[in-house]
């Protein structure tokens, strides 16, 4: 017999439901959503503003709890875990790329990455070297000591991607990563994000308004009225 192969998907959502207060009633954002993302797979999710795309990412990344359903992260069911364990699991397995990079304004590019290692308990010169290597791989080596205010939108997003990779995650979540970029830069960042996700074998979800990431996705889903359906609507860009 050969070696046993672990087929546990890094991320699996099972019947996840979320509703939010809306006037006198409640609005359903996610209605018994099922989603499984495999290692190295890039899934793009489209949907209108307010359709619950970011909420889906928040639930998948253990940033918030679902009203019902289960999120399996790296094979671990998380619904009943306390906050401390959810935080630990998130730290080990999840990284997020944000819409406008969401960099800390007083840290240089390389320090943004070092902070991830520091939070994860990695100290010493190793993380600094790793951060510099990651930035160099994303063509940002020459900007490693620049503060976010001195970086262009595309450069900030590259640092944001490098920061996510620094966490050595198994799941990568990207929230409108190209929304604040011009079309040319958006195309570059989308291609880079998908390539890095595949190179690092990350289960990746990209939620987007923008057409740029769609061409790089293995699967396209559309979120509407709380339901995830295959295919993506036509998007500008």
């Amino acid at each position: 017999m050969g070696d046993a192969v672990d087929h546990t998907p890094p991320l699996r959502l099972e019947g996840v439901s979320i509703s939010v207060p809306d006037g006198d009633g409640r609005r359903v954002l996610l209605d018994a959503v099922d989603l499984q993302v495999e290692t190295g797979e890039v899934v793009a999710i489209t949907g209108a503003s307010g359709s619950g795309k970011s909420t889906l990412l928040a639930v998948a990344g253990l940033l918030r709890r679902a009203d019902a359903g289960e999120v399996h992260l790296a094979g671990t069911p998380t619904a009943t875990l306390d906050e401390r364990r959810r935080t630990r699991l998130r730290r080990r397995h999840v990284a997020i790329v944000y819409q406008s990079a969401n960099l800390l304004p007083t840290l240089t590019a390389v320090e943004q990455l070092q902070l991830v290692a520091h939070i994860g308990g990695r100290r010493g010169p190793g993380p600094r070297r790793e951060a510099e290597r990651l930035l160099a791989e994303l063509d940002m080596g020459h900007r490693r000591d620049a503060l976010p205010a001195h970086l262009s939108g595309g450069e900030r997003q590259r640092v944001g991607i490098a920061r996510a990779l620094m966490a050595r995650p198994s799941v990568l979540l990207a929230d409108e990563p190209t929304a604040s970029l011009d079309p040319e830069m958006a195309a570059q960042v989308a291609a880079l994000l998908a390539a890095e996700a595949r190179r690092h074998e990350l289960a990746t979800i990209i939620v987007t308004h923008d057409a740029a990431p769609l061409g790089h996705a293995d699967r396209r889903l559309h979120l509407r009225a709380g339901e995830l359906r295959a295919g993506a609507v036509e998007l500008a860009g």
Partner: protein, 363 residues
């Protein structure tokens, strides 16, 4: 502290205002501490310097010398206690008028017998055992009083020469003048002194025995420190100083607390981001609290150094101030701890911030 230290270094302007306020509070606290020490010195330094452990007063006099009159009869039981030294002590405030036409001076006149343990070898022992005269607190020599000057103690008709100076200190904000107990009695009562004096100075290793002696002698004993309260104005001054310093500490805690709360609100998204990156609430708290602690400690130390310089510059002038390293350090530590404690009000707010705010998602 990875983020906190870099954030502090690169965004230091954000902390200037709160640092300035804490530093000013620290300056005020240190100067007030110096003033309090000065007032203590002015009020009781003479009593503090006497080699006694307790004072026995007339019952009900509340350690106020002018309200207490004792007799030789009451002294007797005290002298019979083994391991205890007891000495009569006369204390009164007098105005002394210069016979040379110089300015008159207020004195706290302390009368002690020549065999008393209070009259330690030196100027005081020499004078109380010899011709009637006054040994004045050294500060009066700096004001121009000279040995040989003669002063009439107002209301008594007694005129005494200045026989010397010693580091007697002051009592009730008035320089102390030592004289013999006989001269004190002559000044206080004239011929009809009937062996009276103000209080009994006690030096003992066995305070437990004093209650029984009190009962036998008809006296009321206080410790030396308790007797400080009998110095005119001492309790009120100390209470005022304590109140002001308490207010300063409360103000500091409020300011730091309010600042940290506002900072936390401003940083809600950043804190959410840190949590989304896997930082625990404890990590975020340590970072924020550590950052603020650095600001508070640096501001407090800076303020304390500046305050110390001000107190040093004021020393020897009209304002009664005194420097005490212990007092400065204690005041600074209490201020820093209170300031940091003030920031605890933001703890719950930080703990409640959800990582989902990093994605702009409200729970």
């Amino acid at each position: 502290m990875f983020f906190a230290l870099r954030d502090l270094r690169r965004a230091w302007r954000r902390f200037v205002l709160v640092g300035l306020v804490v530093a000013l509070v620290s300056v005020l606290s240190t100067v007030l501490g110096g003033l309090a020490n000065g007032l203590v010195d002015d009020g009781i330094s003479g009593l503090r310097a006497l080699p006694l452990t307790h004072l026995a007063f007339e019952p009900g006099s509340q350690a106020v010398f002018s309200r207490s009159t004792l007799t030789e009869e009451q002294l007797r039981p005290w002298r019979e206690v083994p391991g205890t030294e007891a000495s009569p002590l006369g204390v009164t405030f007098v105005n002394a008028k210069s016979e040379q036409g110089g300015p008159s001076i207020d004195l706290a006149l302390f009368g002690v017998p020549d065999d008393s343990f209070l009259a330690e070898p030196g100027e005081v022992r020499r004078v109380v055992g010899g011709e009637p005269g006054l040994v004045l607190a050294a500060e009066l020599e700096a004001e121009g009083v000279e040995v040989g000057d003669r002063y009439e103690l107002s209301g008594s008709g007694v005129t005494l020469p200045v026989a010397g100076f010693t580091d007697a200190g002051s009592y009730g904000h008035v320089p102390i003048a030592f004289t013999s107990l006989d001269t004190w009695r002559a000044t206080m009562y004239g011929e009809d002194h009937r062996g009276r004096f103000s209080a009994i100075a006690v030096r003992t290793d066995d305070p437990g025995a004093l209650a029984a002696v009190d009962r036998a002698a008809g006296t009321e004993t206080t410790t030396k420190v308790e007797a400080y309260d009998g110095s005119p104005g001492y309790s009120a001054e100390m209470a005022t100083m304590t109140l002001i310093r308490g207010f300063l500490l409360a103000i500091s805690a409020l300011i730091v607390g309010a600042f940290f709360t506002v900072l936390t609100v401003q940083r809600t998204r950043q804190i959410g981001l840190l949590k989304a990156m896997g930082a625990s609430t404890g990590y975020v708290l340590r970072d924020g609290l550590g950052q603020l602690a650095i600001v508070v400690v640096v501001a407090t130390v800076t303020g304390a150094l500046l305050g110390t310089a001000i107190v040093a510059a004021l020393q020897g002038g009209e304002v009664p101030v005194a420097l005490s390293l212990g007092s400065v350090v204690t005041s600074a530590v209490v201020l820093a701890v209170t300031g940091v404690a003030g920031s605890l009000v933001a703890f719950r707010r930080i703990a409640r911030i959800e990582p989902a705010v990093a994605l702009g998602v409200e729970s």
